[in-house]
C-alpha cells in the first residue's frame, strides 16, 4: 500500500487514490489527428510505456479532493520520487542512480 502525497491534501494512503495512466500524453488537435494514419492514432490511443524504472503517471485523489496530479514512481522499488500538478513538465530525475 503506497503512501502518496497529494499536492493539495498531503500524504494519504493509496486506497484514497485512483490510478489513471501514463502522464504527459497530449491529445492531438483535430488538425493533427486528421493527418494521422490509423496506426499513428492507435499509438496515441492504446500504446503505453511499460517502464522498468522511473515512470511518470497520473493519479486522482478520488476519496479526497478529487483532483488529478502527476507522480514519478520507480516501478521496481515503488519509491515515489516526485509529485507535481497537472500541466507542469516532468521533473528531471537521475534515473541512473535509481
Amino acid at each position: 500500500m503506497f503512501l502518496i502525497t497529494c499536492p493539495y491534501c498531503g500524504a494519504r494512503d493509496e486506497h484514497e487514490f485512483g490510478y489513471g495512466h501514463e502522464a504527459h500524453i497530449a491529445r492531438p488537435t483535430p488538425a493533427e489527428y486528421e493527418q494521422m494514419s490509423d496506426a499513428e492514432w492507435a499509438q496515441y490511443l492504446f500504446m503505453r510505456k511499460n517502464t522498468k524504472g522511473v515512470h511518470f503517471e497520473r493519479w486522482v485523489h478520488t476519496k479526497g479532493c478529487r483532483r488529478w496530479f502527476n507522480v514519478a514512481r520507480h516501478t521496481v522499488t515503488h519509491e515515489i520520487l516526485a509529485v507535481y500538478e497537472m500541466g507542469k513538465p516532468a521533473p528531471q530525475i537521475d534515473t541512473e542512480k535509481k
Binding site: M1, F2, L3, R27, E34, W41, V60, W68, H78
Partner: protein
Amino acid sequence: MTAQKNRLGQGGRIDRTKPLRFTFDGKTYYGYQGDTLASALLANGVSLVGRSFKYHRPRGILSAGAEEPNALIQLGLGDRTEPNLRATQIELYDGLVAESQNRWPSLTTDFGAANSIFQKFIPSGFYYKTFMWPAKGWMFYEKFIRQAAGLGKGPTEQDPDRYDKLYASCDLLIIGAGPSGLAAALAAGRSGARVILVDEQQELGGSLLSERTAEVDGTSAADWVAGAVAELAAMPEVTLLSRTVAWAYYDHNSVSLMERVTDHLGPVAGAKQPRQRLWRVRAKEVILATGAIERPLVYSDNDRPGCMLASAARTYVNRYGSMPGQRAVIMTNNDGAYRAALDLSEAGVTVFAVVDLRSDPQGELVKAARAKGIEIITGHAITGVKGKLAVTGVDIMPLTADGKGVTSASRHIHCDLVLSSGGWQPTVHLHSQTRAKVVWSDDIQAFVPGNKLPGQNNRSIGGAHGVFGLADCLAEGHAAGSEGAARLGFGAQSGQAPSVSGEPAEGALLPVWIVPSDKPVGQGGKHFVDYQNDVTAADVMLAHREGYRSVEHLKRYTTMGMATDQGKTSNVNALAIMAGLRNVEIPSVGTTTFRPPYTPVTLGTFSGIDKGDFLDPIRKTAMHQWHEQHGAVFECVAQWHRPYYYPKLGETMHDAVNREVKAARTGVTIVDASTLGKIDIQGPDAAWFLNMVYTNAWTKLEPGRCRYGLMLGEDGMVFDDGVTSRISENHFHMTTTTGGAPRVMSWLEEWHQCEWPDKKVYFTSVTEQWSVMALNGPLSRKLLEELTTDIPLDDATFPFMSFKDGHLAGVPVRIFRISFTGELSFEVNCKPSHALHVWRALMQAGEKYDITPYGTEAMHVLRAEKGFIIVGQETDGTITPYDLGMDWIMAKSKTDFLGRRSLTREDTKRPDRKHLVGLLTDNPNEVLLEGGQIVAHVKDRPPMEMIGHVTSSYYSPNCNRSIALALVKNGRNRMGETVYLPYEGKVIPAKITEPKFFDSEGKRING
C-alpha cells in the same frame, strides 16, 4: 484435581491458582492459566500430538513458537472450528477442545501410516511422475488425491464471530518485544516519539521470559521486563499490543497486524469485543526485532515424538514449569544448547549427556555444564532414535576425523527426550517481505538482512539482525530506538542502555548440515529436513540427482518450505544440503523470498465488518418506504435498491409486468427514476464542454430545452447516454445512466483537469439532490393538471424535450417533458424531502385513473418496444453509434468531439460490423434467452459460426408477442432473413427486423 505428571512443583509464569480444564482427542486434562496448549500437553506427559502429512508418521512438539511444523491442531467445535493451529501458540482457556489431525481412526492407530510402508514408492515428485499419464487419468486420480490432501477440516457453517479493522499511524513501529524490541521502545518512548510495540505472544518479553539466571540492570530478566512494560504502559504516546502478529510488510512502511482480541478467552457468545482485529499501520520507521528461530539438526529419525529444539525445552521448563521429558540427551553444534542442559538439569530433568558434534568445545557454558556433572560427549553424533510413538532411546557413535561419517563403536542411552540445536536463523521474513535481499553470514552460518530498499524505512536489530548476545541485543535496541526517534525530530531523553553483567562468552559454531548415521542417508532411518511436508535429506538428494537444483526447483519438486509453517525450521538446512551436493557456497543455491503472511491469518479479519448488509453501501430513494409498503419486489442496480415490479395478490412476475406495461400505454403510470445520475454543469465554457463529450451539437440548444446525448470513449465506442437540459446560458443539468453516474462524473473531471484546464466549467454531482418520478401514459397530462396551477401543460407552451419550473401539490418542482417509453410523459423532479409528499399526492389524485406504479422490468419492456437502447445492455464497449443505427445523433458540422477520429478508423467504418436489429421468433410466445448466440447456419453440433447475440428479450403485451434486440453481423443488410438460436437441444428460428416494435412513427409522444 488430576495430577499433571510432568509439571514442575514451582517456577514458570503460569498461575497455579487458576487450573483450566481442556480436552485433547476427547480425553480430559488440566493445565494452568498462562499455559499454551503445547505446554499443558507436555505437563500431562502427552508427547504424541499429530501425524505427518505424507507418511502419517507419529509426531510430537518440536518448538515453542510460531515455527512449529508438527503440532497442528483442530481447535474448537461446530461453526467455530479452526484447522492447522499451532499448539505452541494456542493459549489455554477453560473448556478448550482440541483434536489431532490427519489420523484415522485414532492418533495411536492410524491406517494412513501404511503410506510409511510404501514410502519407497512415493518419493518426491511422485504425483508429477505418476499422474501425468494417461492425461484422462487425472480426472480419476484427482478424487483420491484431493481426499488425501490437507490436514485439518475447515468449518462448514458460517463464522459466528465478529471481526474488526483499524488504521493507525506512528513514528516508530517496533515488531517484537524481546530484549531488543523492549530496549528500542524504551529509548524511543522516553524521547516522546509515538511508538507502537507489537508482539505475537500473550506477554511482552520474548526470550527474556525463558531466562532463568540472566540479569538486566542488576535485576532478574523477569523483573526487568515487568519494569520496562510498566514504564512503557505509562507513556501516553506508546501503544502496546500483545497477542498481535505483524504478518505483512507492504510498500512504504505499511505493515499489517492481526490482533487476537478474545481468542484466549475461548468462544465468547455475544462478546462486546471482536474476536480478532486487523490493523493497517503506517509507520515513519519500522524496527524489526523479530528474533531468531533455532534450527533443528538433521539426524536419523529426528521426527520421533520427544525430539525437540533445545531452546524450546528450555522455554517449557523455565517459562511454563512444564517438563517435555524426564530423561534427556542433547545434541548440538554450538554453545547455546548448553543453556538448555543447565536449566533442565536445574529443574530436575535428568540430562544424561550433551552430544557435541565439535571435537573440542571450550566455551564458558560448556565448562559450566561439565562443572555441574553433565556428561559431555564430544566428537560424537546421535545416529539413530529408538521408539515409534515416543522416544525410548538414542544410539551414539564417534564421528570420523572429517566429520562426514561415524565409526562403529555404538553406545545406547535410554531417554524420552532428544534435544537438538543446529544454530539460529534470524527471523528475516518481514525484512524479505519489503523485497530487500538477505545475505549469508559465515560468522553465524545463517542469512541476515541485506540493505533496505529505498522508501522502506526499516532496521533489523537483535536476533533478527544476527546479534545473539543479550547485552548486544539490548545495546542495539537502545541505539535503534534513540537514533530512530532523533531522526524523526525527537529529543535526546532516551536514557541509558540497559546493562548486563557476567554474560558467558560462547565458542564458535560448527556447521553440520546432515548428521551422519551408520547407514547411508536414505537407508535405515529418515533424516527429516522439513517435518511438515515430510521432506527428508534423501529427497533433497533425489531432487539433486534429477536436476532440480536451484532453490525454486527444489522447493516445487519436494514441496519443501511450503504449507502453514513456510519452512521456518527447514529452509536453511535444505539449502545447505543442496549446496553441499552441488559443492557450492550456500547463498549460490539461492534464497527463498518470503511473502505474507508470516503466520496464517484468518479470512474473517480481511472482511472485518464488511460482510452481509455491510459489504457495500445500500442506496435507497426518498420513496423507498412507499415502495416497501406497496409490496414492491426490489432489484439491485449498482448500489441502488430499485422497485423491480409491484405484484398484486396472486400475480406472478409475468402477470404484474404485463399489467404495468399495458397501463403505461392506456392510462397513467408512475416510476421512481430518482436513481438516474445527475450532474450540474456550470460555467461560460459549459456548452463548449458538452460539444466535446457528446457526439451532437449543444451550442444552439435554447435555455428551457432538453436534448438526448450519446457519450463516446476516445476509441469511438458508446460509453454513456442521457438527456441534458439547458437551465440558462451557462448552466446545464446532465442525466446519466444509474450505474454510469460515478464513471461519467470522473470522466468529465479527468478531461477538464488534465486536457482542458483553461476551460471555465464546473461539475457537481446532484444525483441525490433531486428526486425524480416519471408519469407515463395518455392520461398523465390530465393527472398533472389537477395538481398544478402555475405550469401550463399544453403541447404549444410545454413541448416535448423541454422543461418548466413551477409547483405541484404545493411544493416547488421542475418538470421535464422527456420520455423513455415513447408515451406522453412528464418527469417530475423535486427536493428529496418533498418527494414522498409529491408521490403520494400523485397516487391519491391518480386513483380515479387507476394510476399504476411500475418497476424496472416494465421500464425495460417499454423502452425495448420502442427500440431505445440501454448502455451496457445493447452496448458492451465495442459498439459505435453507427452500429446502433444512431447516425442521426452524429453532428456533421462539429470539428471535434471525443471519439471522432476513431470513428474513421478502417475497422470502425466497416459496413458489415455488428448492427443493432430486432428479432421476432416464428413462435410469438417463445421468449429468447438474453445473451443467446445467433447462427445463420445450424450444424449438428458446435462449433457453428456465431454471427451475433441477443441483447434484450421480453414478452411484449402491447405487441402480443415476444420481442428481442440483438447485435448481428451485417444485420442491417439482412432484414427479413431468418437466423437460428441453438439452445439446449432445440433450435429457435427468428426473423431479423428493424429494432422497433411499437408505434414506429412515434405518434404517441403527445398523448
